[in-house]
Symmetry: D2
Subunit: 207 residues, 4 copies
């Protein structure tokens, strides 16, 4: 049993970049994350948790990354991880790769974050706005990449005063070493590292 | 002649909420802003400046506000200006009111800000991300409302270190008194108040 | 009687720039704000509210603006209101003008915001960090200037999802016209405009 | 020779938490970082780079973390890394541990960031304000901890559009494994990983 409880009315399940580009055969980055995905079963774990949270009435928040054709949102002299995103024309709005995969598709009335053209899910989006307006205190975090967008989002959520829970079995990266290093060295600094099973047990509804 | 110059390569024309909800007969907020719009000619002035800036190669940035059906991005117990937006179901994505009006329609490859569910164009969007990635130093500001989104955006842009230019003849509000008070008392604190004609004269292309 | 209540455990009284530079004979900006201060009695009203809030156990948050000698935090080519601050060497750390005035002096264990070199009390400070860590939901706002730092802070607090209360009788500006225009046209968009007397009546302690 | 150049007029050397608490015998966290510090020689490397940058006219920016007695800036129910900081009363303002160590002491007129009560040097401070006002484009990053404040600052600086350079030989952590994992897996995503020697060679003064 986990040593924490999560009030469903104050808890958001934040699902980051479950887009075909990552999750699905044919996606530009699928080959890069396939190994870790298979090893951890993160997509199946995430999908089951999503269903569970929907039944419990947890607030579901979907967050995709996307760029208009030409990727003009990114500098003409990019460096770091955005250079690869631009060069590879990844996550182009309107493409299949940009769409959220079938297993994690948003339902009507679920919250969909807009504006993500960077890595941290807070820096270029209305995520904080939505969470505050909906009185969320706890953020439960799954998706891609363990040591990139997930980790940046975890770090910022922590600084903004949310109680952050990171799902070790619902995240993936481009190498097992990067994935495991993030969890081992960094997740505990800025979150309560946990699993989808523990979160299911921790969710309670306070009258 | 204005006492400033604007390098086209470092200047963004930031166009805020030229959406049918405000600009066009049938828009929910058109009756509220109609008087000031007619008095200042802000839509025609803005449209002419937009054409001029396109020819000069100025970076054009469009910024709309929008909410999914149900306005769940906003609190269930809203107050202040967002209460009215939610109650009136204004700026609903997919509606005609949400669309940018014909006179100001974005062209392909122009930058379109995403995420605006608040008032300041920076707080819940990728505006700062886009401006920094594109090396913009100057922000020239027009749209709605003089004392609400325009003023909040001006204030934040100033704090973020941009050189801000506010277009007195390209902004509008729900009352002439509110419009004029913002320009008289506040625009000079956080920007260089100017006009579309002065901006046209100030734009230069540095080799 | 006000039509709202304020839970003392979730309410912060945010006191902005009650520094000698503004409040006290000899302060560089005292001549500019003297007229409005005398007209509204804002310093006496603020001081009485501060005492009341201390007794009730409201969280007190003090926020000063300050610059190191030389004002190197500000650009060498400043414009807008920061140009005047730098030219006049106002709010220099270590000077009497920088100190909070006797009537509003912080007590031990009260929270003191750090980093304010801009106008909005959130943009360059640890204010949001402190408020979130201390579980504050309501921000009650008094100080200087009605249409500058107070208004910028109100606007940002609103976007960040706080319930904002602005104290019409505890704020001041450099002209009565600017002061009154801000209250009339803008305070209601981003806050619940109120008075120190109403806040005193609204404060309750929930067990 | 490095494959980049750094214009001294647009480059900030950002020095994070070279405080006695970390760097000096008797500091509360000195035992934790001593091993990595000795292995990499980060303090000596940093000190030499600081002297070099001063001579070249690079903008020096010092950034400490600090809390008032009682650590009331941090929640009463802290978790993650801030829990340890509060429990250990680390970085208390006024204590020797809070002071920047002799080897890295700021000189008059150097910029000193204020407000840091969190981990990322941007989130609760005037760092971005200062960098923008001073027209900085490049941020060269050294200090503590490789995988905590350094990494969070690197990530945010990248999102904000700065060109970030991380100094592999001028950073330290509480374990060699955490230090090396951050450099290996994450530094390249959000920065140009480099060394103090390369930065010295890359610094040029453009007329």
């Amino acid at each position: 049993m986990p040593d924490f409880t999560l009030d469903t009315k104050e808890t958001a399940l934040l699902l980051i970049e479950y887009q075909n580009e990552f999750t699905t055969e044919g996606g530009k980055l699928y080959p890069a994350v396939k190994e870790v995905m298979e090893k951890t079963g993160m997509l199946e774990n995430s999908s089951k948790l999503l269903e569970f949270c929907r039944e419990k009435g947890v607030t579901i928040v979907h967050c995709s990354i996307g760029f208009e054709k030409g990727h003009n949102e990114i500098s003409n002299m990019p460096y770091g991880i955005l250079a690869g995103v631009k060069e590879g024309s990844a996550f182009e709005i309107g493409s299949t790769g940009h769409e959220i995969c079938d297993a994690m598709k948003p339902k009507e009335n679920e919250l969909v974050v807009k504006g993500k053209t960077g890595l941290c899910a807070f820096q270029s989006t209305n995520l904080d706005f939505i969470l505050r307006q909906n009185n969320m205190k706890n953020v439960v975090l799954g998706g891609f990449l363990t040591n990139c967008c997930i980790e940046s989002t975890m770090r910022t959520a922590y600084e903004k005063g949310y109680k952050v829970y990171t799902l070790k079995d619902c995240v993936g990266a481009t190498s097992l070493a990067a994935h495991e290093a993030a969890i081992e060295h960094n997740f505990g600094l800025f979150s309560v590292p946990t699993t989808s099973e523990e979160v299911k047990e921790a969710l309670i509804t306070v009258a």
